[in-house]
């Protein structure tokens, strides 16, 4: 082939379009930039965009189309866990290469997937540490949408909190359906839970669309961040852009990137983005940074391997480092996860987030949580063990599809 094909597998319609469309644009921007730099290995890059329309079987179909029909060299895509789960067998069967840019529940490490978003240990645990140590929170509401990511995160957090001596009475766990829009009773319950005289915080793994009505209700029931701060793992600049942030000032979010962080690299990236999308108002957010990092790592690996062949690129990429937009470097680990800095930000009235706390240096992503019974003993290592789910007790590598 005379071009290198880059598949883009993000929903452009349906429920997930809200989040994923931006990522498609980010990949296109990266392709564009790389081509300006002369492409890769002397070839131009060509983006192949498809729309899996927020439909999970369609994700699998489109993945197959990209790999088998369009013969792309790499795919950037997916947002929800289920979409990733749906395409995973396809990537393994056809030996494709997927860069997945969103924070997720972990418990996975595939030979064909590189996870450039945060694992739970790169987001949730540091956030809780901050609340506990800096804000002296004693009572916890773990509120989430009822699916795997919140369930896992909350399970990890519950175990973690209990280990830190928090009483069961002081933890309230609540799950709501996708797209939940009537938060009156739950917010009222949180308010009651939080008025027992102990400092209370909400750890929110509420997903997507449900956040806007949730925050609106918080504001209207006059729960301010000083009373009951909410720290969210799925609410970033882009979500806040759809909100009247005035009443939300002070609520928190934990991410590995904030648009407001003042570094030259970040400034340049944002400027690029604005130039590319031709709109100075557009936000830049964490999954976008993850996409950028993933793309840069891939490009670097291709150059190192001098080919786009999946196996060679996969081998070459491990150990490579590219700079984060917020300073420091992202290094691809043997478990196909990245090292990432963790930031806690407070919501400002302009919809940006101010960093109020950050980890010292980068946290390496952990594919298999140390706080879950089933996965404590599992390890992922694609260099020495050549396995994504190696059980250190039984000394077996399980769950591989090839």
């Amino acid at each position: 082939a005379d071009t290198i094909k880059v598949g883009v597998l993000h929903s452009l319609s349906g429920t997930m379009a809200i989040s994923e469309t931006t990522l498609k644009d980010t990949v296109l921007m990266m392709v564009d930039e790389q081509n300006k730099k002369g492409g890769l290995l002397g070839k131009k890059l060509e983006a192949v965009v498809v729309d899996p329309a927020s439909n999970w079987p369609l994700f699998a179909e489109k993945a197959r189309e990209l790999l088998a029909k369009d013969k792309v060299d790499v795919v950037f895509g997916c947002w929800t866990s289920v979409s990733r789960k749906s395409v995973l067998p396809v990537f393994e069967e056809l030996n494709g290469l997927l860069f997945y840019p969103v924070q997720y529940e972990g418990e996975e490490s595939s030979k064909n997937v590189f996870y450039t978003g945060a694992a739970p240990n790169q987001q949730a645990i540091p956030a809780v540490d901050y609340l506990m140590n800096d804000l002296e929170v004693e009572r916890w509401v773990l509120a989430g949408t009822d699916y795997v990511y919140p369930r896992t995160t909350n399970k990890i957090l519950e175990a973690y909190l209990k280990a830190k001596g928090v009483a069961a009475d002081d933890i309230m766990i609540n799950y709501t359906p996708f797209g939940h829009s009537d938060w009156q009773s739950i917010v009222s319950d949180i308010k009651k839970f939080g008025s027992a005289g102990k400092k209370t915080a909400v750890v929110s793994t509420i997903n997507g669309d449900a956040n806007v009505p949730f925050y609106k209700e918080l504001a209207n029931q006059q729960i301010s961040a000083e009373d009951i701060p909410v720290v969210a793992f799925s609410v970033g600049e882009e979500e806040l852009a759809g909100l009247d942030t005035g009443p939300l000032v002070g609520h928190l979010a934990a991410w590995n990137y904030f648009m407001s962080i003042d570094t030259p690299a970040n400034e340049a990236a944002i400027a690029n983005w604005h130039a590319f999308i031709k709109n100075d108002e557009r936000t830049f957010n964490d999954p976008m940074e993850a996409t950028v990092i993933g793309f840069n790592l891939w490009a670097k690996a291709v150059e190192k391997a001098k080919t786009t062949e999946v196996d060679k690129v996969s081998d070459a990429i491990i150990g490579l480092e590219v700079p984060n937009l917020t300073g420091g470097t992202a290094k691809m680990l043997a478990n196909h996860h990245l090292t990432k800095p963790v930031f806690i930000g407070e919501i400002r009235d302009d919809g940006q987030l101010d960093v109020v706390w950050q980890t010292e240096g980068e946290v390496p992503g952990d594919a298999w949580s140390d706080f879950l019974d089933g996965s404590k003993d599992i390890e992922a290592d694609w260099v020495t063990l050549k396995c994504g789910n190696y059980n250190t007790k039984t000394k077996k590598c399980s769950g591989q599809n090839y």
Partner: protein, 364 residues
């Protein structure tokens, strides 16, 4: 009009064409996939085979909907429920087949249960390690649900939109229930990561061909069965019920048993379609229950031409192919194209594509 089934099938133009094309496809596709080298222009890629297999599942589902809607006037917005239940039954079998090959290596528990700290298999998962049992459930789960639901609804004489909406409520309730992780069906992520079916590797081309053939066979069988029903005297009663339910009662037909029977049969067909669908797409998740999907099925039928069965098949193929093509070719604007397709078909092809073909034949 009162000829035996075989004759009906052979003389009716639509059936002839449909069965002919189906048989030819079923023979050619495997041949062109397995026997023709990959670089030949005639080669049918595994991608295409899988895609066709998926379409055929949809076609079977569309037939099931057309049977109740086109012939009996029951506009079901709940057939996704039966489809998904069939799919889950198959998915549970496939999950159990994974055995110790799951990521946690648990011999009994599927990965997601280990992950959620479940210590033992819920009772309703037992037996699914046996193929025959799972296949029984593919038929029984949707069938029983349809029977119970229909038994209540039809004897209460719920009709028209009221029936449509409660079927929608049914599938919506199931959607929410299956989303719950406590239900023990994998929540939002559903069931994935299947390895093999009856010992055949799901990723092998031969298995895919096998599944494709099974689907084509099921579709052909389903079609013939539905056609037989439609052409029988019971078929005429069913259409009479569609047009004037009350009148049919006054001449002595027990409307609810006709409806119940047809409804349950249709649900079983949908369940079979779901069971064939799951191994071919590799995932079953509660999204399959979504009410909007049910509306889409109705639309396939309407686009193809309602009340003809082969129209339903045609509609399912056309709409889904359009979707596949549009989402690849114009990912940014394909909804305009699909939307416009629906609007134009309605305005200019009141009998669907089949009506157009019939008209063309008449004028020719």
């Amino acid at each position: 009009m009162h000829t035996p089934l075989l004759k009906t099938l052979l003389t009716e133009r639509g059936s002839q064409v449909f069965l002919g094309v189906l048989i030819v496809t079923a023979i050619l596709v495997p041949l062109l996939n397995l026997a023709v080298p990959a670089d030949s222009a005639l080669h049918v890629s595994t991608y295409t085979v899988t895609l066709l297999g998926k379409y055929l599942c949809y076609a079977l589902l569309a037939i099931a909907v057309d049977l109740v809607w086109g012939y009996c006037g029951i506009l079901s917005l709940g057939h996704t429920a039966f489809f998904a239940l069939g799919g889950y039954a198959m998915g549970m079998y496939l999950m159990r087949q994974i055995g110790t090959r799951g990521v946690y290596g648990d011999p009994v528990l599927p990965d997601f249960m280990v992950f959620l700290n479940w210590s033992e298999l819920p009772w309703y998962w037992h037996g699914f390690d046996m193929f025959w049992f799972a296949m029984l459930m593919v038929v029984l789960a949707p069938g029983a649900l349809a029977y119970v639901f229909g038994w209540f609804a039809f004897r209460s004489r719920v009709t028209g939109v009221y029936l449509s909406i409660i079927t929608q409520a049914l599938t919506f309730a199931l959607l929410l229930a299956f989303f719950r992780n406590e239900m023990g069906f994998g929540g939002n992520n559903g069931l994935t990561d299947f390895k093999d079916l009856l010992g055949f590797d799901l990723q092998a081309d031969a298995t895919r061909i096998g599944l494709f053939l099974a689907t084509a066979f099921a579709l052909g069988g389903g079609y013939v069965a539905c056609r037989a029903i439609a052409a029988s005297r019971a078929g005429r009663v069913i259409r009479a019920i569609r047009d004037a339910e009350g009148r049919a009662r006054f001449i002595g037909y027990r409307v609810e048993s006709y409806k119940l029977w047809l409804w349950t049969f249709s649900a079983v067909l949908a369940g079979i379609a779901g069971a064939l669908y799951v191994p071919q797409v590799g995932i079953i998740n509660p999204g399959e229950f979504a009410p909007i999907n049910a509306i889409e099925i109705v639309i396939w039928v309407a686009v193809g031409g309602r009340g003809t069965l082969y129209g339903a098949v045609l509609g399912a193929l056309v709409v889904n192919y359009a979707k596949t093509w549009f989402t690849g070719a114009f990912p940014e604007v394909w909804l305009y194209a699909l939307g416009a397709l629906f609007v134009l078909v309605t305005l200019f092809l009141p009998q669907g594509i089949v009506g157009l073909l019939a008209r063309a034949r008449k004028t020719a």
